[in-house]
Subunit: 396 residues, 2 copies
Amino acid sequence: MLLNHERLRSAMSAHQLDAIVATAPENVLYTSGFWSLPQWIRRGPQAFVVWTSGEADGQPVVIAGTSTLDLVADQHVAARIRRYGAFPIDHAPSVELDPVSARQAVLHALADDGDAIKALVLEIRQAGLEKGRIGIDEMGLLPGDTERLRSDLPGVTWVMAASVLRNIRAVKTPLEIDRLRTVAAITERSVAAALAIATEGVTEIELSRAFHGQTVREDAVPVLGCIGFGERSALMNVQPSERRLRQGDIIRFDVGGHYCNYRADIARIASLGSPSREIQAKYDALNRGVQRGIELIRPGIAARDVFQAVVETVRREGIAQYQRSHVGHGIGLDGYDAPLLSATSTDVLEEGMIVCIETPYYELGRVGLQVEDMLVVRADGAEMLSNNGTSMTVLG
Amino acid sequence: MLLNHERLRSAMSAHQLDAIVATAPENVLYTSGFWSLPQWIRRGPQAFVVWTSGEADGQPVVIAGTSTLDLVADQHVAARIRRYGAFPIDHAPSVELDPVSARQAVLHALADDGDAIKALVLEIRQAGLEKGRIGIDEMGLLPGDTERLRSDLPGVTWVMAASVLRNIRAVKTPLEIDRLRTVAAITERSVAAALAIATEGVTEIELSRAFHGQTVREDAVPVLGCIGFGERSALMNVQPSERRLRQGDIIRFDVGGHYCNYRADIARIASLGSPSREIQAKYDALNRGVQRGIELIRPGIAARDVFQAVVETVRREGIAQYQRSHVGHGIGLDGYDAPLLSATSTDVLEEGMIVCIETPYYELGRVGLQVEDMLVVRADGAEMLSNNGTSMTVLG
């Protein structure tokens, strides 16, 4: 199961919620296992998940568009289902149905609740929560939805709960960690596939094609592909261009796809020819910053203490003027999960959190350097999901 | 230019708008050419574009996060820029800057407006529109943004404008049509790459890998990949599984990536071995429905008239019980642009619209059949961007 059920219960109790409603794609998938295609590829289509504090059978209610009931059936979503909207499918009575189609037929026979908000209102009434305190993930609502909910359920106390769900998601279950381990490894192999063609004259676009090609060969999906050469490595969001690789160029990768919707985000540096002593020294300082952070990672440490130690290490080891807003973040179904390793973060690391620890450095018009690795916070410290090693890759 | 400038002016005039504000990723890109990475890969980061009716220089104002100013510079965004938020980059005065970095340096030197909404409020005040009538794309606002705008600019009359922008986007410029032509062709070649390995025993996942592999080799990005065999071809959103291809199976593709952010959506049917006479007859009926629609496409025809003609043709030609909510839709930066070819649509076709015309048919537990092609509405009728031909592909 993706969901950390214990953490959900504990958060609902701490916030005194009678129910919590997931609306954003990552929260719907996380709390129910339901991946509803339309809400992942455009904004507008909705699916909701309702967990009530009194649920007896350990299952939520999923509110799904009728046009997505095939996915509910095929994904073995363990939930009571409400459906909304019309979607015609044909069904010859003489056809013997396979298990997935049989489940789909049962779901199509449910009453049509009209639209997603109507279905949610019906569900809250049926659960007897017209006067309840209900956490709602505001990030997947559409303009006007809040007004409709307030008008149709005037007795409900609504609590904005996107941050509650984000906090629940911060500590990963073993299945989530497996997926993150897989996607981190795919991303490392995709960097290797790109570097395998990194000779003088290759373009950023060609390297990017090799990178994403490997990602797709391993059944992951391209998401982040910042790959820049030389002065373009200093562009923080660099998008591949026709710039050709030249002797002496630094190549910066800040990259990661997703695998089963779980995201990777790692950074790697390579140099065509030996880097200058100054660039090497800066890289080493950034890498020592990350290594210092990794040493400190353990349950109970404050995220801001990791931030301070990492930034101080980079400054002491070679980049005296080093400035950063953060040196790391969680990752999972979203590319920026909790915790955030920043100067003002109030997050405290917990066992099972995933951290992308990073020390990017952008020198305008000249060079960008960055070390970023993914790790799991374990009882005895960091377990690496990716491993930059101690040095940049020198090519040619 | 992506933007249909004349259409923007005309819509602002028709709705009596003093300004229009784009907030959703597709509208920001469309109205300014600015592709802001963070807002495309997660929900939360914002970028806005403001066009005022009085702009003298033919340029909008772009409101960008400071962490994305490299993209503004690299993409040659032709706009006045406002920036918000802190993002440290280093800049050694001795470094001679390339043109992109020089532009970025100028942008970093702008004042920090604080956050996206504060920047928007400042811009509206500076434009003297505190009492103006302003169209706002509500789909890219975050919870609480509307309240802040109303509170900070109490004299403004706000008009929800997501549908206005969607309507402007419906008629494509030549650059947009070029991109759509490219992505349609890439998608056809990706289907061909998948079919090239479609022999008995191959899995849906393997076919999907071949499909997306070709998409990535042509520098497009995987988005939609519904590929199902046999009884799974009837699952409307089918996601590839370990199901193996068997003699007699139908393969249904409903697929398309994006190229430079422009989307494709086509459907193709293949059969391993000759299809039964009944399946062939149903396929022919669906295909004749699409062909009838293509014949009717011209500027001035009502979308609902195309819908009626297509559905009636399918019914007359072989599927008497055929039911559909729509038989086509626009496509562009969004997978579902206007127009919509449905029974209740009020859309009227215009020259330069792109239509995905389609007749999907799902027979639960048995087979899914679908013909879908992309076309441009031209003065003298449909120009096809993809071409299904008249028959399904018979393999082996």
